[in-house]
Amino acid sequence: MAKVLMKGNEAIGAAAIKAGCKHFFGYPITPQNEVPEYMSKELPKVGGVFVQAESEVAAINMVYGAAGSGVRVMTSSSSPGIALKQEGISYIAGAELPAVIVNIVRGGPGLGSIQPAQSDYNQSTRGGGDGDYKLLVYAPANVQEMVDLLQEAFDKADYYRNPVMVVGDGMIGQMMEPVEFKERPHVDLPAKDWAAVGTKGLRKPNVINSLFLQPEDLEEHNIRLTAKYQKMKDNEQRYEAYNMENAEIICVAYGTTARIVKNAIETLKEEGINVGLIRPITLWPFPEKAFEVLPETAKAFISVEMSMGQMIDDVKIVSNGRLPVDFYGRSGGMIPTPEGIIGKIREMIGGAK
């Protein structure tokens, strides 16, 4: 299929419909408004359902209801709106329902700003809701990758019966890039025989629920969920390794920031400074496998983020004391520049000598 030029947020809507999502429940918030707007226009054309909820809280609970009915369902929002959805996300995870949640991240805390940011790393990977649960979290770096991962997110959600989050900073939502909707391989997925769709008098009632009043039952439930999360850790880690050969400094960056880091790497290469990049494509599970074997030349990590430093904790965990971990970040809607990153790396190299 030919490439088309699309705004990130609209591409999200198009990709979801392409993946068979016919149910969308959302609430307006900048900078993701083009997603619900697109869905309100396009879903009725394919026999789908768009509902503008009265709040993010209601929207995620509509998602929970629809997911319990066994349909492919999505919501999108931006940081403070995602904060409101956290309770519902915890219920969806607890009840083991598939759903896709898109976060087009803006600056925080509080009302923050409407400019791009990556300050929801902790909110995405640690969960703002209650209890021991995990989401599969994708962080695309361009509109094409957004389109590909978003479609896959629905399959993964169905496969694991778990909510999947796709995180893009505000830039990915707002920029236009050429995208191609590729033919996707067929994935065998289990039947949704657990869905609450009416018994028709043919079976015992299905109950969608996350309440386990007996401590033994809830612990057993948590052990089972943890085994599922371990399976995700084993099978779903995704990353890109870039210019790692003979790298002295290894940058760790995701999303738009990783693209800026690549520019910095190319400039430094001309100066004979070798800098590598590990770009997590899954934020959870964090791609530990990328850190297993490091070039002998590596002297330090640097986590580069559009935040005051959140992913750095995971870099420290996987480094596990092998190498020092430094940080460079901009926040509040300020975008890191290649010059800023280069300056920081020069400082590190100077210090490392």
Partner: protein, 248 residues
Amino acid sequence: MAVVFQKTKGLTDKETHYCPGCTHGIIHRLVAEVLEELDILGETIGVAPVGCSVLAYDYFNCDMQEAAHGRAPAVATGIKRSLPDKIVFTYQGDGDLASIGAGEIVHVAHRAEKITTIFVNNAIYGMTGGQMAPTTLIGQKATTAPLGRDSSTTGFPLKISEMLATIQGAVFVERVTVHNPAAIRKAKKAIKRAFEVQIAGQGFGIVEVLSTCPTNWGMTPIKALGWLEDNMIPYYPLGNLRTPEEAK
């Protein structure tokens, strides 16, 4: 031998956890009998709330989904919009519906969602041990209103049905009670009518059922029934507030 009475198929055999004298059991039975009589048990998905009736999903003999506190109408919206040919109801108490879920119940009516809500109003938070609800009467004691509800600091009891009856999409609104057999028969009629309105695709329907909480009111079951009649009905008048015919 002729069968003169048998338990409705709308309820499971699970023993309920409700306190002695609590009228939740009666209201469950009425809903279940209506689902059976309308022959829609196999086509129905119920949404349970948080509160005393949190375990309603164990008692109704149909597919069920458990909602977060107050969110049942939003969950029901997600279900009904995914399964427009099915029957969807929420069963909610007054803490759930009138307090934390006040927004969701207003907007499910605002959107004219074709669902049915059974609203059990016993003027108190039961499950958490008798705290004040928005529906607690002036002067009524609660664990968070130990001297009785005082309007100067807590305002006045919320009349949910009257409020919802002002919304165009709420096409069936009726307040009933279950404190005596005649009232129970009327309550069942209203519940049946509310489900029929949904089956006909006419809009949102709600039946508010005045209910007792002997445990947290600190009364015997019989005294509680009397207290409901003497105190709740004067403030929460019974009757139909809206039918689809009027809503047009």
